[in-house]
């Protein structure tokens, strides 16, 4: 598998998705194995921050800050940096006496100070308290504003979403952008409404319930309503009007005075003559449902064809 991935990455010379710009934060949602490979390949291109990288534990906090700042030739003052990472009160403590989250803040000085135009960060928010997450998210934002391309690697999607919406998943054929609906968060905030629609039918004195997507079409024949599922028809006590109302949300359409069709199963619009149309369904062989002339344009609009 590793070999496959490598081939993909070599093809493009760089493994970055094509659309990377200066100052962009890119999330890559992937597993640990691929993460290692990506970091291995990217270390030539810029600073790579490993989540396992350690600390100089015997240094005091301010000594560690001074060391990293001197190494990078950082123009900011020690006070500013301590403030930025929220460690001002702990400056005289030894690194080893800090909490794990606070130690991670100090570790983040390295990508923050050493990072050039491109840097890679493994698991940016791995096992951190909320304060630290906020600080690190702020620093990543600053890096991007400075014009660096920041690549975040994680196998936790929620972590990546803290910093960016440009998230890619990766497989053997390369990078794929992941879609996030804007509404998605609002939906999850609301009380979830569970609504189950079952269509009740009868066959040989047995009551059978169908999920709407199972139904191919419904017809009205001699005053009886027949629900067609996989080539078999079942009696239903509801009227076509009631059914139409209940099933509209499931992609059903009243294509004819006495027919309701499941649009998801329509394969072909057959034009018999100028005024006569039928819908051919993808189920069975040659299951055809009539389509009224005056309904054609509405249907075309509904399914978005011309």
């Amino acid at each position: 598998m590793g070999v496959e991935l490598k081939a993909v990455m070599e093809e493009g010379k760089t493994i970055l998705p094509a659309c990377t710009l200066e100052g962009q934060i890119i999330g890559v949602y992937t597993d640990i194995q691929k993460m290692q490979l990506i970091m291995q390949q990217l270390k030539q291109q810029g600073y790579v921050h490993h989540v396992m990288d350690g600390q100089y534990r015997r240094l005091k906090v301010e000594e560690a800050f001074r060391f990293y700042m001197k190494m990078a030739g950082c123009p900011q003052s020690l006070e500013e940096m301590l403030e930025l990472l929220g460690l001002k009160k702990l400056r005289k403590k030894k690194v080893t006496d800090l909490s794990l989250s606070q130690q991670q803040r100090i570790a983040f000085l390295r990508p923050y100070l050493y990072g050039g135009t491109f840097l890679t960060i493994e698991e940016p928010f791995h096992r951190m308290d909320t304060d630290t997450r906020m600080i690190i998210a702020g620093l990543i934002q600053q890096l991007a504003e400075r014009g660096s391309i920041v690549l975040l690697l994680s196998n936790n999607l929620e972590d990546l979403l803290i910093s960016t919406n440009d998230i890619f998943r990766i497989d053997s054929s390369g990078f794929h952008k992941m879609d996030f609906n804007e509404e998605q968060p609002t939906i999850t905030e609301e009380e979830p409404v569970i609504k189950i629609e079952k269509i009740q039918t009868k066959k040989n004195d047995k009551t059978i319930l169908f999920n709407p997507p199972e139904i191919d079409y419904i017809e009205s024949l001699d005053g009886e309503i027949l629900v067609n599922v996989a080539g078999v028809s079942y009696n239903c006590s509801l009227t076509l009007q009631e059914l139409e109302k209940r099933l509209r949300a499931y992609g059903f359409y009243r294509c004819h005075r006495s027919y309701i069709v499941n649009l998801q199963k329509v394969r072909e619009i057959i034009t018999w003559t100028k005024n006569s149309y039928s819908l051919k369904l993808s189920v069975g062989e040659g299951t055809v449902v009539p389509l009224s002339r005056n309904k054609l344009s509405e249907l075309k609009e509904l399914v978005g064809i011309s």
């Binding site: 490993h50 100089y56 015997r58």
Partner: protein, 236 residues
């Protein structure tokens, strides 16, 4: 290769702080003093006994501390980020080595004083010791790069001590076994020959030969250390 004094300073300061607070390593600095006092009180005042202590100091302090400084970076998982930092290889190695050089120089000076050794020519001896320190620093670097923890590094320093500190003793066997004569070309043996020469007004030519041998060893060790360091950098 660009060298930045600021970065070297930063590494020097950081390593000094870490070293002085790591008692398991820094305690070694006091061992030569104990040994020197011991010899002095016993009233042994021969060039051989002086240099027994000095060569032991070079292995126990110089090579050991240097290997521990590098192994510690590996043990605490900081070497990778240090290698990826803006500091060049030269910055990192010079920063660490200059700290070890300073420590070694001070320890050697105090040891020589405690031994009661008064060399015939202080300047030439100081120069010879400086070259020796560089050689042992390079050896320590190699030991540090081959090991993963401070624990392993302290074990790796043992063969250095065995070969280079005790090597000159083998010379005593050279009459019986001519092969032992090779030990004469060890830098530690050359250091002793040089010191003996300083007492007896040895011809300048032989001093130059001794220096040449020591410098040769030093350059070889420094090259080996930097090649190894570069290799490690691309490995992980």
């Amino acid at each position: 290769m660009n060298i930045s004094i600021k970065r070297i300073q930063a590494i020097f300061t950081k390593d000094y702080k870490e070293f002085s607070r790591n008692y398991a390593v820094s305690i070694m600095v006091f061992m030569p003093f104990v040994l020197a006092l011991f010899y002095n009180k016993m009233g042994i005042h021969t060039i051989d006994s002086y240099f027994m202590t000095i060569n032991l100091t070079l292995a126990m302090v110089t090579a050991f501390v240097q290997s521990c400084l590098i192994a510690e970076e590996k043990e605490s998982n900081t070497l990778r980020s240090l290698m990826m930092s803006p500091a060049s290889i030269a910055d990192i190695l010079i920063g660490k080595s200059s700290l070890v050089f300073a420590i070694s120089a001070i320890v050697l000076a105090v040891t020589i004083y405690l031994l009661g050794y008064k060399p015939g020519n202080v300047l030439v001896l100081a120069l010879a010791l400086a070259v020796s320190i560089l050689f042992y620093i390079a050896l320590g670097t190699i030991c540090g790069l081959f090991t993963k923890t401070v624990m392993e590094a302290s074990v790796a320093a043992l063969p250095v001590m065995g070969i280079f500190s005790f090597g000159p003793m083998v010379l005593g066997l050279s009459e019986k076994y001519p092969i032992a004569g090779i030990a004469e070309w060890l830098p530690s043996s050359q250091l002793i020959l040089l010191a003996e020469g300083l007492e007896a007004a040895m011809p300048a030519k032989e001093i130059v030969v001794s220096f040449a041998v020591m410098i040769g060893w030093t350059i070889a060790a420094i090259i080996a250390a930097s090649v190894l360091y570069k290799k490690r950098m691309t490995d992980d």
